[in-house]
């Protein structure tokens, strides 16, 4: 019961700040509203006993993605920041698109059968993930490091340009 109340409050936060983000005319405000939306989603993960996922949501989305968004806003050339969210004009089109997506997703949700797992919810998800990551999934784990390396080198190359040393 209390879980349902917590979910309701969190869902209201996510929906409210998501709407505020889309409707705000100032892109910096939009970025901040987006961070609050992400924190709300992290709360929903906590409500589902997925503590690790919630921590990742806060670390990666609230920390990193929001910083990237704010930096992106800072780098863009524009006249007045108070009217910088140019997609703000397409309210009707955006609303129709959202409604279509809502209908499709709602139909899928109501037509699919939800199989519940017979296992109990594990108390400590982080330890389970750590054990699996360090024993059975070593190769994907090290591949993730390579992927991050490629992303880092690629980002620097795109931003700085390749030097011609020949």
């Amino acid at each position: 019961m209390s879980q349902a109340i917590v979910f309701g409050v969190l869902a209201a936060i996510v929906l409210g700040f998501g709407l505020a983000m889309v409707l705000s005319k100032n892109l910096v405000h939009s970025a901040i509203y987006m961070a609050v939306t992400f924190i709300g989603v992290a709360g929903i993960y906590l409500n589902l006993s997925a503590g690790f996922l919630a921590a990742m949501q806060i670390l990666v989305y609230v920390g990193a993605i929001s910083v990237l968004m704010v930096f992106g806003v800072m780098l863009t050339r524009r006249g007045d920041i108070a009217a910088s969210n140019i997609f703000n004009r397409y309210k009707l089109t955006g609303g129709l698109m959202a409604l279509a997506l809502f209908v499709i997703l709602g139909r899928l949700i109501f037509t699919s059968s939800w199989n519940l797992s017979s296992f109990a919810v594990p108390e400590d998800t982080v330890s389970l993930i750590a054990d699996l990551m360090m024993t059975d999934f070593v190769i994907p784990f090290e591949t993730a490091a390579l992927l991050l390396l490629v992303a880092l080198v690629g980002a620097i190359m795109v931003a700085k340009g390749v030097k011609n040393t020949r």
Partner: protein, 118 residues
């Protein structure tokens, strides 16, 4: 769940209320002598010239990009650190390899001058 994360919720609520309390206390206790100079944009004590929202150089964006990569690295460090004692030497070596691969990235960023402030 509520018992487990209740403390977190109380902390969140208190940290939202706290700034408002400080501002309200300052409003009540502080002296009020407004003048136009206090309302201008603060920029290292000098008067600002032109619009204050200007385009920044792409170099600043590199800091954010490198931060994101090492932020994602933390995602992998966190479960390893939680189970550090139980996992033993093999996991320690695995993590050393993981960090060594990312240090190559840091070395490249350093070499390319991405960490230089300009």
């Amino acid at each position: 769940m509520l018992q487990q994360y209740g403390g977190l919720g109380v902390y969140l609520i208190l940290s939202i209320i706290f700034p408002f309390v400080i501002v309200i206390v300052a409003l009540i206790l502080g002296p009020k002598r407004p003048n136009p100079g206090k309302l201008t944009t603060y920029e290292c004590g000098l008067d600002t010239q032109g619009p204050t929202w200007v385009q920044f150089k792409i170099n600043y964006f590199l800091y954010a990009l490198i931060f994101v990569v090492f932020d994602v690295e933390t995602v992998f460090l966190y479960p390893w650190a939680v189970r550090f004692q139980a996992l033993g030497t093999f996991a320690f070596i695995e993590m050393l390899i993981f960090i060594a691969i990312l240090v190559i990235g840091l070395w490249y960023a350093w070499k390319e001058g991405a960490l230089e402030w300009m």
